[in-house]
Symmetry: D3
Subunit: 64 residues, 6 copies
Amino acid sequence: MPFIEIHMFEGRTLEQKRALTKAVTEAMVEHAGAKAEGLHVAISEYALENWARAGVLSVDRKDL
Amino acid sequence: MPFIEIHMFEGRTLEQKRALTKAVTEAMVEHAGAKAEGLHVAISEYALENWARAGVLSVDRKDL
Amino acid sequence: MPFIEIHMFEGRTLEQKRALTKAVTEAMVEHAGAKAEGLHVAISEYALENWARAGVLSVDRKDL
Amino acid sequence: MPFIEIHMFEGRTLEQKRALTKAVTEAMVEHAGAKAEGLHVAISEYALENWARAGVLSVDRKDL
Amino acid sequence: MPFIEIHMFEGRTLEQKRALTKAVTEAMVEHAGAKAEGLHVAISEYALENWARAGVLSVDRKDL
Amino acid sequence: MPFIEIHMFEGRTLEQKRALTKAVTEAMVEHAGAKAEGLHVAISEYALENWARAGVLSVDRKDL
């Protein structure tokens, strides 16, 4: 039943997304007693210029 | 006043979006007593590779 | 497949929620070609003090 | 950096939430190359009367 | 037109919420060219046990 | 700790986004007692055809 929304930077490969959504689903089944059948995981991808941390746009950060 | 966020696959036509947001707004007015005036409906579209069900990425499903 | 999130004030009755989620689901099926089976509608309810419009907290509005 | 929002029914224990958020974080680190440090996982809990599937409010379902 | 959703811990006073939503609205008007009139700000409050950072539930953190 | 999600039309410049996320972060620090360090602001941009107000798709509005 649950719906999980992952907000992260764009740039992951298809293979990463495949493994990630599978692992998150398994975590929900194992630890939250969810049934996999109706469980959805959606990935919202953001460009660097659309995400700020500590008031600094990611496109302006030196450590990324 | 309400805000409705629709998460779905990309690919609907402009005409479908027009009819959909109109119908959802009417449902809110009729059944939730909302005023249409300040009511927003936003559509977030996802690529097949950004949505998994039952741990399987939609791009890998045979039934879509 | 879609997930619809309704953000609105608290206070609707069970009967209103029943009719609302049914109507929104039907709108998705009719106008967006969605299948009802895996379609979820979730209602997030807000207290008046947790929603502002035009910079004014709803608890401070005279017209509500 | 990512933010993960888990929408599910209320009723999980503290121990389940502890294990769930830990496992989801590990999945993000392992499969999406995320750094744990700035990674947030938030749980939004819903009453049965605030979630519908296939147009049926969960409070009205016999199979839950 | 915009909709801003603030996810944070519960516990802010009414006065803080009043000032916060006003300031966020002003930031949108000044920096994003938004009109205040149709602009909504919603606050979603989380208990400590419903939010994890770096895989640690906030209820288990010593530094909060 | 907080996560702020801004849903708005696409079209703002990098400079506007830089100023906007900075101002929203400052509002959170000043009025909600948040620490800037772990505070994220994400911008979700919508095309005119993906946002309706009062049941009218923004692409069909004359006043935009």
